[in-house]
Amino acid sequence: MSRTGDQELAKGVGRALAGALLFALPLLMTMEFWRLAHTVERYRLALLVVVTVLLVLGLNRSFGSGPDGVGVGGYLADAGVALLAAAVAATVVLGTLGVIDPLRDWRAALSVIAMETLPAAIGASYARSQLGQGSRRPAGTGYGHEVFLMTAGAVVFAANIAPTEEVVLLAADAGPVRVVLLVVLSLVLMHGFVYAVGFGGQEKATSGLVRSFLTLTVVGYAAAFAVSAYILWTFGRFDGTGLTMAVSQTVVLALPGSIGAAAARLIL
């Protein structure tokens, strides 16, 4: 391999590590997360790993499908690099912080790393392909593509907050009125983020306010809601919990989730 190829590879991996930390550090430094990694049902954790892999594959496929696309082998390799970077970044940071000891207690370490790959691998994919020189350009701007990106954004924000006790606590204190207000607030923030306040990737509501609100903001919120519910279920927050509380928790978590979804539309 050529020297420039080596350098490009090292830079790309470096960006992936940086992206993994950028997206996953809040989660890595959350106490509830360390405990949850050990107590989450094994099949749910395995399912989470599968979902992570699918999401990362999808992201890298869409990032790598530009005019100079990388092909199937290319995006499979990209996804592998992202997952590897996520695991390495988490192991180094958590090992240094003393949360895990990969040598003495590798079982516990693996559980923690399995759970952390979700936001970290998304961050790694994003940073490796979108930031810096030689970035891959996404091609698709189709509707399905937009919804997929919003889902990925919701995952990152929701995953970072989902393990905290605060979600349960806030949901327990919130009455029905506050839950409804939260939904409204989430929708307003989402729509404002994308269409109103003038961020870099701001979009024009080409097809009318109502239409863009219904087709993108509401659908994006639904995606954030579904993502939040899935993550809460994975972390066992719905076990022994009534439907009302489950919905309240999901609405609380969907607030950061929807912000993530809106941000993803601007950034990606």
Partner: protein, 135 residues
């Protein structure tokens, strides 16, 4: 696609090194899933199994510190693990001490200390787990 030199848009090509790292990442995922499946099938069936061993007794402050290690050999995490020690002399209880460990994951151990004002060496010291909550 393996050759990164044959096109003008060289930066967009996937290099051999990327494939190697990508394969390593794939291997990691397979290992993770294998480990989780193994844990689900083989290990996790049992509950938490706690045992406490005294590692050392040292004078500490005005009294004595009995350092212990609590090990969880079971398949599930134990939370709020209570470790208690009873010091008895001539058959009658002299002093009691408890400590709470936040959580002990499966196949892991945590350390702590029970504090006594009497010298534990002068009597019979019994140390053991006295309770935990399941997460």
């Amino acid at each position: 696609m393996d050759d990164d030199e044959d096109r003008s848009g060289g930066k967009e090509r996937t290099t051999g090194g990327e494939y190697a790292l990508g394969a390593l990442g794939g291997l990691l995922v397979v290992l993770l899933l294998g480990f989780l499946t193994y844990q689900a099938v083989a290990v996790r069936e049992s509950g938490a199994e706690l045992s406490v061993t005294v590692t050392s007794v040292e004078p500490s402050g005005d009294g004595y510190a009995v350092h212990f290690r609590v090990v969880n050999t079971g398949g599930r995490t134990a939370e709020q693990v209570q470790v208690s020690g009873t010091l008895s002399q001539n058959g009658s209880e002299v002093e009691q001490s408890t400590a709470t460990v936040a959580y002990v994951p499966p196949e892991s151990w945590r350390v702590g200390a029970l504090l006594f004002s009497e010298d534990p060496g002068t009597g019979r010291l019994q140390v053991g787990p006295s309770g935990y909550t399941a997460p």
